[in-house]
Amino acid sequence: MPDQDDRHTDTGKQTGTQTGTEDIVTTDKTEGAVPAIEFRDVVKRFGDNVVLDGLNFSVAQGDRVTLIGPSGSGKTTILRLLMTLEESNGGLILIDGVPYTHEYRGEKWVEIPEKRRRVVRNRVGMVFQQFNLFPNMTVLENIIEAPVHVLKKSKAEAITRAEELLEQVGMSEKRDFKTNQLSGGQQQRVAIARALAMDPEILLLDEVTSALDPEIVADVLGVLREIAETTDITMLLVTHEMQFAREVSNRVLMFDHGQIVEEADPETMFTNPTHERTKEFLKAVLAH
């Protein structure tokens, strides 16, 4: 994981109020053609290192898109930008056609204040490589925390939903356990339930099996497969599990140096890639 000092505290604290939302609302929710996610000329630098240099791509509602590519190619950065864990250095990121992190006011490229970001952020969920469950809470408390305090659901309602989700990920008996009494695979299943409890329209999965022992990976992938089959959540996943990518996604994007070098359906991408870099990469990944 790239380590960039304190940037994770960035959200919030943006001052300056702006109410120029009228022009945006009109672009919202036109006849379903609006992509769920759109990147327009997005630039991201870490110091001198340009990770994304004017990236453009979009993801339709209900798409399952896998991002592949060598490490440092910018795929995780895309998820982190979508979750506002990183700040972009240029361009627009739109969710359902609405600028999410930055916008143009006239010619000026400005940050959208936290208040407005929070409205959009409710539609986006994320599951992390390292699970990131809250150790000071039980499994159930982890899951209901945000629904109760962010979505303002009643506690009873949140618990009912949490129990459904725990059932779905096969973790019902661990409801009242502390998170560090769970194995990695169990933690990750809880983390998936926690993300789903927010009823996200978009789910970001950042190498969710990379930190797990090989024999547990299948369990977690099984859970994700089921979610993919039973919901219409838009998914954006970064993974090294090519078999899983093939089963779950309907589109694969191959990244290199912050650019999409190839885009195809999984079947074509994995059996008949055209780009030289893709061939090299797949050979290297599938070799082990």
Partner: protein, 242 residues
């Protein structure tokens, strides 16, 4: 010696009063210090320069200028500006600001050691700024902070002995009175130091209990109830008293 003990027994009520003053100073100072520490500790790690800058300056200023000087400055100089604080208030404010500045560094360090993923997960769940600090970050940071705060609390108790020099009748004052009454330096100072030690020891026990509490909330180590059980479950013994 038996005369000494008789004198001490006669003065037990005054000892109680002295201990009370010492405790008031210590607890009052500690509460103020905690408020100052949280404010300056979080202030020191915000992104906004006009909050972070002053926070850092205040922390370095109060850490750098010596408790004794601060206390007497408040005592002698503040009235020149027309603010006359009661001696007790002077003591509490001086202790609170001085140890609050040290505490701010503890808060800052502990909050920084809460894994980055916890902040990120809070963002991913769209928790608000204060909500995430209160419900996610602080509960984890406490467990890291408590041992260091316990040390500061003992330092603060020790610093409260200055109260005597701003005309408060604290434990230190009681010791000097006992010495006058008994003319026995060794006896009176031994008694006094032992009382200080007992207070410090009880405060340490309390802080240890807090630490156990916060740790068990994180699912690490036994719960407080388990620790305090008559036949305690064997736990790895914590090194050092303070």
């Amino acid at each position: 010696m038996s005369d000494d003990i008789q004198t001490l027994l006669d003065r037990l009520p005054r000892l109680g009063e002295g201990v009370l003053v010492t405790l008031e100073m210590t607890i009052g100072g500690a509460i103020l210090a905690m408020v100052v520490a949280l404010a300056l500790g979080f202030g020191s790690r915000t992104r906004t320069l006009w909050v972070r800058g002053p926070s850092r300056v205040i922390v370095e200023f109060f850490r750098g200028t010596s408790l004794v000087v601060q206390l007497f400055w408040l005592f002698y100089v503040l009235p020149v500006f027309g603010y006359e604080l009661q001696a007790m208030a002077v003591g509490i404010v001086a202790l609170g600001l001085n140890y609050g500045a040290y505490g701010a560094e503890v808060v800052r360090g502990s909050v920084n050691s809460v894994p980055r993923g916890q902040w990120e997960a809070s963002t991913a769940l769209n928790l608000g700024q204060f909500h995430r600090i209160r419900r996610v970050i602080l509960p984890q940071a406490w467990a890291l902070m408590i041992p260091m705060l316990a040390n500061l609390l003992i330092q603060l108790l020790k610093g409260s002995a200055l109260a005597y020099y701003i005309q408060l009748h604290d434990l230190n004052f009681f010791i000097s009175q006992l010495r006058k009454a008994t003319s026995d330096t060794i006896f009176s100072y031994s008694v006094g130091l032992i009382v200080y030690f007992v207070i410090a020891y009880l405060l340490t026990l309390g802080m240890n209990a807090l630490e156990v509490h916060f740790k068990s909330r994180l699912g690490a180590g036994p719960t407080l109830r388990e620790v305090l059980r008559v036949a305690p479950v064997p736990t790895t013994e914590k090194a050092g008293a303070a």
